[in-house]
Assembly symmetry: C2
Homo-oligomer: 185 residues x 2
DNA sequence: CAAAGCATGTAAGCAGTTACATGATTGT
DNA sequence: ACAATCATGTAACTGCTTACATGCTTTG
């Protein structure tokens, strides 16, 4: 469960409650995790069981008690070991490509409609990514993170830009495919 | 289970046994499914249960009996309906990006090593993709597929090229990130 | 008064993986 | 002799998802 390392990553900045981590994951689009309860709370239980994090229960007057998780030295060591492990190749899964692969039973108009719809979705997504980058570079990510190094800021922006570029490239690919199909007719 | 539609897609060309489909999926890299038994055999049971495919058991003298699956009219209709449904956005999951995001606890040399390793893996993968394309354009895919239309051939080649371009783009991104990090020092 | 936020957790399920099991046959 | 191919199937697991459950508080 690699999300555990992502959680350790956030906890290496500062301590968070499960609820806060949940929101962080829901907001961080580049992290591809939805931030659902089972995964976050479950992972935190396991991380605590293995000694990678410690828990402090904070009673509150008007709100339910919150469990604040803090990374331990062991947790930091585990995170570092993982960071140094061999990176894996990225995985892309595009159901739209599977649809395209069997578009043979569609008319040219139906296929063109499919591609147009796919392209517009990609365009929207690319715009959203660019918007996220624009906002991220003006304001602080909002989670109350301590001073971040220039290097780290560069890396985070690059990751966001990679995501935007992916959707832009995919869109360009669709455009060129549409052009080629038009030529064929 | 969208793999069902991919199975129906292959069966729309010609009838196959589960064993053959398994091999097809294992070979078709652009399809991101590993072609493991549980998925193929399980999906075929479900497709048969829902009436999308019919089964013919062929007894053989020297080898175990094989179940040959044939798409039904209902199966063809289901496939077509799915082909016309709204395409979904592609999903990318890159663990390497998560590693990078918390590279803060690494030295510049360690980070550079990580990036170099990631880049070389991407380069290898891109070469493999290009090789697949080269082989696909010279020979027939090898599954004994009937005559394919020009349009279909174009689409399949485009999908393969999309995959190759993805790894090449990712590699270019890593190269530029490495350059930026070198500048920063 | 309803909706959203705070905060935790559980249940049920889908999609996908590796590994195991059987058993004859063919190639090295 | 050992491994690979043919051919089917099952067991056990990981990772991830939606939806449900509770209950108090703040905002519109």
């Amino acid at each position: 469960m690699s999300i555990k390392f992502a959680i350790l990553g956030f906890l290496s900045w500062k301590s968070f409650s499960g609820y806060e981590l949940k929101k962080i994951f829901a907001d961080a689009l580049s992290f591809h995790w939805s931030g659902n309860n089972n995964q976050i709370y479950g992972s935190l239980v396991e991380l605590h069981g293995s000694g990678a994090v410690s828990i402090e229960v904070q009673q509150q007057e008007k709100y339910p008690a919150r469990k604040v998780y803090t990374i331990t030295e062991q947790g930091r060591a585990e995170l570092r070991t993982w960071l140094l492990s061999e990176p894996e190749l990225p995985i892309v899964r595009s159901l739209a490509h599977i649809q395209l692969a069997w578009a043979e039973s569609l008319t040219s108009e139906e296929l063109e409609g499919l591609l147009a719809s796919y392209e517009s979705q990609l365009a929207d997504q690319a715009i959203m990514c660019r918007e996220t980058i624009r906002r991220a570079s003006s304001t602080n990510p909002g989670t109350g993170i301590p001073e971040r190094s220039e290097r780290e800021i560069l890396i985070w922006r690059s990751i966001d830009e990679n995501r935007a570029a992916f959707f832009e490239n995919e869109r360009a690919w669709v455009r060129s495919l549409r052009a080629k199909l038009r030529e064929l007719q």
